[in-house]
């Protein structure tokens, strides 16, 4: 075990005398000793272990029950408890027994062949088995009593203290009261820069690692312990940071590995380190044969290895990833964490920090990195400053999002080690909870044969969905009260005592008294809690009680750090409670049980239905306009005030709760007023929890945030919602949309709003997608700066030739700006704006939606003339009068317009003044963001909303200033 003392000293505890074991149902007449001998002999014969080694050290008979099924009378069953010397052989031994055919001598010397037998708990991790037995949970404190341990002289690790102890002497503490504090875990956040060849994303076979920036920062401390940047070749000093430079890359790598060992962090963090920085470093070090580099773990002489994995989980999806063996350190990649827990438009460090830290980040394109490296110590310093920032942001994100605190609490609540939370799915949390509880009540969990890919996970429940009440689309100007079932699925499981251990198999039904049973709407039968309380019920009751307590403590807590810990705990408890249902439904999980999960959802659907009936029965004129998984939306009637609806909602929640078994509880939390119901799972409304002021605008499932949309769509949709919901002004919303459409057709929409960006992946090459085709085009234009795999490719759709497919009309937004290439406005209108707008307006305008897209405002269409290419090659530009567009030879105006010179001058001047304002605020903003005012902005952060705008301002201002100049100057 790796750990810290309260003061922050690192300790390695070596636990002795703890042996792994599992269970097997007893076969009559076979003695434990004989079974042990038979297994050992079989292992020798199979040459799995050498003849002098004993694998099974002990077999004894114990009395337990299986968790599966309630059997009438609830009889106890005898099991062999098979103990092994080394946990490594568990799988082998279990397999021998599962396959059957093992010859065992009976006491009467007759050899019997064992049939295929189900094993129990052989798949439980040794580590988890140990933690359960000792009563230890993840990230908790333990005491080693004085005199019960010995301190090792000859250390095998880098930790400050190494201790040997007997497993029985460990005292584990529940993370409560004074044991609630967390240890000051040391975090090392790092980022690397590689010098790529032009136009190619860096590859470890060819491209050097040129810089590694590091922040060492103890958790819970206000300031970092160290900021260090390792550079290849000299680098000018950076105030506040230590710069260490090397002439040779091997030395650089070796020095960094030494730095990791020296600072000895508990947690290694960064952004995308799992799939970029760490594999790159390891591969590069292997390429250069830096022998001591992989020694990044805490065990002396044990190199870090990596392998590619596929992790799939119903909650997180399937990911290709890397797994590392780095003893004693947890790899906590902020990218992975954020992709798991947040749905965002983009997961680049830029947009993530813009989202959570409220700051845009300078982005230096990797094609420039090579140039900066080849420059002098000043340009390398520039790079180092940038690199340091990229190392700092992950720690800032971790603190801001409370990730570490929340994960530590999750480890405590579910009882698993911190590292597992990062490297495994949701399932393991429930496995731990289930084993812990079962262990206490002598229930055994059977091993289920896996059918899915390694790593578990797989598809979610494959039965009827949860939506019950068909949405009555519309725009509701009356308040809509929303009743929610609090923790619906956990409540159902508890209310109906659904559990593995309460499920009754059909064959046993006849032997049971009907009053002891309850039959779920999906047809499965469970015994009532008066007969036997289910394990799941017990687990959930405890989780929810603990959550209540944590919330209560949270209210009382004063210290902000303690508050964050308690908040993390209550969140962890909530997530864990909800994970239980998913666990029973995961078809390739550890212990799937469709009877439980199907019953749960069936009860849920029934409850929503009953709620509707009850509401409509009790309240005259009330209708339930929509109901989903755990909530129902009620319209109490026309012309009801908000106060009235809130009161009725409150009352209805209370009244209807009473028709359901405890602890199911219907709660009234909020009213939507007004409410726009678009379709199933798509709605928006102003959310009210009090009558004075609305809390926020709540939008569900409205795809304004989808990544493959341009900003225009998101902005228009949110403006429409703003008008409809906040101002309740349909006419204004319609005229706004018409204005936008008109502007779009007249080329008045800023290009920055039309940019779409998609990331280029390896698999994209076969199909003709806009970004893939464009990337190819860009490569031909300039291989040096063309996007490589992994890059995001921003583009706009241009007019192109007649009948040219849209994918080949994609173009680089900057290229379009500079050359004034016409945008395909119609494409944006028809393919981007139309559907989302129709969807939103349909409930409001019904069949007249189409009027948005035809009519006066769509008549004027302007076409810009490109500056270069195409027909422009053959045309000669002639000056035109700025007043009437008549061709002229010089100056600004034709003879007829001269009398109105002042008017035309001012008109042009106004345009210029507006652009000047934009120009100066955009470019000074970038200069500030860069954190340096004496050098040009290099940033290429296309995710930043002003990236294209600032270039456009430049181009437009030049054009406007030229026009104003044509009026002549007399100085």
């Amino acid at each position: 075990m790796f750990g810290l003392t309260e003061g922050g000293s690192s300790v390695l505890v070596r636990v002795h005398h703890f042996y792994h074991y599992f269970y097997l149902p007893v076969t009559d007449g076979i003695q434990p000793e004989a079974l042990a001998e038979a297994i050992n002999r079989r292992l020798w014969n199979d040459k799995t272990v050498p003849r002098d080694r004993t694998v099974v050290t002990n077999v004894e008979i114990t009395t337990k029950r299986s968790i599966m099924y309630f059997i009438p009378g609830d009889p106890e069953v005898k099991f062999y408890k098979i103990t092994l010397l080394n946990p490594r052989h568990t799988k082998d031994v279990a397999r021998i027994l599962q396959r059957g055919g093992l010859s065992v001598k009976k006491p009467n010397d007759v050899t019997a062949k064992l049939p295929e037998l189900p094993t129990f708990e052989s798949t439980l991790d040794y580590l988890l088995r140990f933690m359960i037995e000792v009563g230890l949970v993840g990230c908790s404190w333990l005491t080693l009593p004085a005199g019960k341990y010995t301190i090792t002289e000859h250390k095998k690790s880098l930790l400050q203290v190494e201790i040997d102890v007997h497993a029985n002497d460990i005292i584990a503490h529940n993370p409560e009261g004074k044991w609630l504090r967390t240890a000051p875990l040391r975090r090392l956040s790092f980022d690397i820069e590689c010098a790529g060849r032009k136009g190619i994303f860096p590859e470890p076979e060819h491209d050097k690692v040129i810089q590694i920036a590091n922040y060492v920062w103890d958790h819970g401390h206000k300031k970092p312990i160290a900021q260090v940047v390792f550079t290849l070749k000299s680098c000018a000093a950076i105030v506040g940071a230590d710069v260490v430079s090397y002439e040779n890359e091997e030395e650089l790598l070796s020095a960094w590995a030494r730095f990791v060992r020296l600072t000895d962090p508990d947690i290694l963090t960064g952004y995308n380190i799992v799939n970029f920085d760490l594999p790159y470093l390891l591969d590069r070090a292997a390429q250069l044969k830096v022998a001591d580099f992989p020694l990044l773990g805490r065990m002396i002489g044990q190199p870090t290895t990596m392998r590619k994995t596929r992790m799939s989980s119903s909650a997180f999806g399937t990911h290709e990833s890397h797994a590392f063996s780095m003893h004693g350190r947890v790899i906590f990649d902020m990218l992975q964490l954020i992709t798991r827990e947040y749905k965002l438009r983009s997961y680049s460090l830029n947009s993530v920090s813009a989202e959570f830290l409220g700051q845009q980040k300078e982005d230096v394109h990797y094609s420039i990195i090579g140039d900066l490296q080849r420059g002098d110590e000043q340009t390398r310093r520039r790079l180092a400053v940038y690199c340091l920032k990229d190392a700092l942001l992950p720690v800032r994100l971790m603190d801001k999002l409370m990730s570490l605190t929340n994960y530590m609490e999750m480890a405590r609540v579910t009882g698993i080690p911190l590292g597992w939370l990062v490297s495994r799915g949701h399932m393991i949390k429930v496995v731990s909870l289930l084993h812990r509880k079962s262990h206490l009540v002598d229930l055994l969990i059977p091993d289920i044969k896996r059918s899915g890919p390694e790593g578990g996970g797989g598809d979610g429940p494959q039965f009827e969905g949860a939506t019950v009440i068909k949405p009555e689309k519309g725009y509701y100007k009356d308040p809509i009260a929303t009743l929610d079932f609090a923790s619906l699925y956990p409540s159902i499981i508890m209310a109906h005592n659904l559990c593995y251990s309460t499920l009754v198999r059909p064959v046993h039904l006849a032997h049971m008294k009907p009053e002891d049973l309850s039959k779920s709407p999906s047809g499965a039968s469970f015994v009532k809690r008066s007969v036997k309380k289910g394990i799941l019920t017990k687990i959930l009751e405890e989780l929810l009680a603990a959550r209540k307590q944590a919330k209560k403590d949270l209210k009382a807590a004063k210290d902000p750090f303690l508050q964050s810990v308690l908040n993390g705990r209550q969140l962890a408890l909530k997530i864990s409670a909800n994970a239980v249902y998913g666990f029973t439904g995961a078809s390739v999980g550890k212990l799937p049980c469709m009877d439980i999960s199907a019953s749960t959802t069936a009860y849920g659907r029934q409850m929503i239905d009953n709620t509707r009936l009850e509401v409509e029965k009790r309240y005259k004129g009330a209708t339930v306009i929509y109901g989903d998984t755990d909530s129902v939306m009620i319209k109490f009637g026309n012309g009801k005030s908000l106060e009235e609806c809130m009161r009725l909602g409150e009352e209805a929640a209370e009244a209807i709760s009473s028709i359901f078994p405890k602890p199911v509880k219907l709660e009234f939390e909020k009213c939507y007023y007004p409410y726009l119901l678009i379709s199933k799972k798509r709605y928006a409304g102003l959310l009210w929890t009090n009558t004075e002021k609305y809390d926020k605008m709540d939008c569900k499932g409205i795809e304004a945030v989808r990544r493959d949309n341009c900003r225009l769509v998101a902005n228009v949709i949110s403006s429409v919602l703003e008008f409809l919901l906040k101002k309740r002004d349909l006419q204004q919303a319609i005229s706004m949309v018409k204005k936008v459409i008109s502007d779009l057709l007249q080329n008045k929409i800023d290009v920055s709003l039309l940019v779409v960006s998609k990331s280029l992946t390896k698999t994209d090459y076969e199909n003709k997608q806009a970004h893939v085709v464009l990337a190819e085009k860009l490569r031909k234009r300039d291989p040096g700066t063309a996007p490589a795999i992994g890059d995001r490719v921003p583009y706009v759709i241009t007019k192109g030739r007649k009948n040219e497919p849209a994918y080949s009309r994609a173009e680089d937004p900057l290229y379009v700006l500079e050359r004034n290439i016409p945008i395909d406005n119609n494409y944006y209108l028809e393919n981007m704006l139309r559907k989302p707008l129709e969807r939103i307006f349909e409930p409001v305008m019904k069949s007249s939606v189409n009027s948005l897209f035809v009519g006066e405002h769509t008549r004027t269409i302007s076409v810009v003339t490109p500056k270069k290419g195409g027909m422009a090659k053959y045309t000669k530009v002639r000056l035109k009068c700025l007043g009437c567009k008549a061709p002229i030879n010089e100056g600004a105006l034709c003879a007829y317009c001269v009398p109105k010179e002042a008017e035309h001058y001012t008109k042009n001047l106004n345009t210029m003044v507006k652009l000047e304002k934009a120009y100066s605020s955009l470019w000074t903003e970038c200069q500030r963001c860069m954190g340096d005012i004496c050098h040009d902005v290099l940033c290429s952060n296309g995710d930043c909303p002003i990236f294209y705008r600032r270039r456009k301002a430049q181009i437009d201002l030049n054009a406007a200033s030229e026009k104003v100049s044509r009026f002549g100057l007399d100085w």
């Binding site: 706004m736 002042a902 100066s920 004496c934 007399d970």
Partner: protein, 496 residues
């Protein structure tokens, strides 16, 4: 109406120094703002360093070092070090276009923020010093906080003495040194009193404007108003400077200039008259004055000219009749000229107003808060102008918070190569004036060391600094006596 024929004293007027504020015919809005800071550093570092050595003494082994580059202070183990660089204040409440994206609005793209409604300082502001090699955070705990906020404003090039705090990585400042005033041309004797008249914010056409006040001013300048008790007569006023805002800022329209003239959309007949009137009034006023007195008209924030500093002169077509008179000079803002070898330099006030926003508003503005606009008191304006002279820069906050043209030819025209005799800022809340005499070279406020660094004969410099009040609010104009550099205020208002 009776009018006296006036025999005006003639002066030698040279407008050519203003040329440096005229932008090239072919303007390029491509280069980035970094060039502005870079050229500012290049023109001022040597002066600042020279003056710092006078103040702090030459470097001494083991005691005091001069750091060539800011990046190097990290390697000088907590030794007293002097660094020279440009100051940058990172203020979270500065107007920011990115922040506008978070403000809910119905615009698809947010417009640039309105500077006038912002105040900059907050408790968590950070101050940096920067040169082309790097930037360093400053720890100002050892400085008087009033000195620190007034002196350490974005864009000034300064020398700071202090040492690096290894723990925080910031530079602990214990003293500041300025470039000191630039050399000044000597002031030849004048046989008699001559005056220049400076006014600003005539705001013709302002909704609640005092029409009569402008008429009275016109009468006075044409010599119909009789003798002035303090000796300034119409006859010995040799030049009028109109320091910006001849037309009012209209609040109800989207931007200043568009409001003043016919907008790009066709106007209704009534509307056209109301909106078009101001600039016609200005033209009439200037025609009348220019017929008897040389006039220089500078543009200001509200006038129909370009927005980025330096603002270019009014276009001929906007002032069609007055432009025909050779006595009318349409000049840029900032503006510099010499009248009888007296160098007169000033702005229409934007650099001062913006500078003042860097200070804590509660202490600076007091009751200067009107119509959402924050404006400094007269004394504060003088303090700021003095600092600008000391730091040889007339618009330090350009381009960060004060919009300016992206100069890239290696020159920053706002750097003061010489010290003027009259230095003014127009469009201020109240009149104030001060004669700044610099016996020799004043180096650092706290130190008494006095030596001449620029070798100008006599060493003494005398500058009249003036806060020119808004005419539309005070009815006041300022008269500066070119012989004595004394100042007089004249007030024209209905109430007189």
């Amino acid at each position: 109406q009776e009018s006296h024929p006036t025999v005006r004293v003639v002066s030698e007027i040279d407008l050519s120094p203003a040329k440096r504020f005229i932008l090239p015919k072919k303007k390029k809005y491509e280069p980035q703002y970094a060039h502005v800071y870079f050229s500012r550093l290049k023109s001022l570092t040597a002066h600042v360093l020279k003056s710092a050595k006078l103040t702090f003494g030459e470097g001494e082994e083991g005691k005091l070092q001069y750091s060539k580059r800011i990046a190097d202070i990290a390697s000088k183990d907590e030794m007293e070090t002097v660094v020279v660089g440009v100051i940058f204040r990172h203020m979270k409440s500065k107007p920011s276009i990115l922040a506008q994206y978070d403000v809910p609005s119905h615009e698809l793209i947010p417009a640039p923020p309105d500077r006038a409604t912002c105040t900059y300082p907050r408790d968590d502001d950070e101050v940096f010093i920067e040169d082309e090699y790097g930037r360093c955070a400053l720890d100002l705990s050892q400085l008087d906080s009033a000195v620190a906020t007034l002196s350490l404003v974005t864009g000034f090039v300064l020398a700071l003495k202090g040492h690096e705090d290894r723990r925080t990585g910031s530079f602990k400042v214990n003293a500041i040194s300025y470039a000191g005033q630039a050399p000044q041309k000597s002031l030849p004797e004048l046989p008699g009193d001559k005056f220049i008249c400076i006014t600003s914010a005539l705001s013709f056409g302002k909704a609640d404007g005092d029409v009569l006040a402008a008429e009275l001013l016109m009468e006075f300048l044409r010599g119909s108003a009789g003798e002035d008790p303090e000796g300034s007569t119409c006859a010995n006023i040799v030049q009028l400077i109109v320091a910006g805002n001849s037309v009012p800022q209209l609040e109800d329209t989207e931007s200043g200039p568009s409001a003043v003239l016919a907008a790009h959309r066709p106007l209704k007949s009534g509307e056209k008259e109301r909106v078009a009137a101001p600039i016609v009034e200005v033209d009439r006023f200037l025609s009348v004055i220019a017929s008897s007195l040389p006039v220089a008209v500078m543009p200001g924030e509200a006038d129909p000219v370009n927005y980025l500093l330096p603002q270019q002169p009014f276009h001929r077509c906007l002032l069609p009749s007055s432009s025909r008179n050779e006595n009318l000079a349409r000049v840029p803002n900032p503006f510099e000229c010499s009248v009888d070898k007296r160098v007169i330099l000033g702005t229409s006030g934007q650099p001062v107003t913006d500078f003042a926003l860097y200070e804590d508003q509660s202490s600076v503005m007091k009751d200067g808060k009107e119509a959402g606009k924050l404006r400094p008191s007269g004394e504060k304006v003088l303090d700021i102008l003095t600092l600008m002279l000391q730091n040889r820069h007339l618009a330090p906050t350009c381009p960060d918070t004060l919009a300016s043209f992206p100069f890239s030819d290696g020159s920053d025209p706002f750097v003061l190569e010489s010290t003027p005799h009259v230095f003014f800022a127009g469009n201020q809340r109240e009149y104030a004036s001060r004669l700044v005499r610099t016996p020799h070279v004043q180096t650092q406020a706290s130190s008494g060391s006095s030596m001449d660094i620029d070798g100008v004969q006599g060493g003494e410099k005398t500058v009249r600094i003036v806060s020119v009040p808004r005419f539309d609010e005070t009815g006041q104009v300022v008269l500066v006596n070119l012989r004595t550099l004394d100042c007089i205020v004249r007030e024209f208002a209905l109430t007189m």
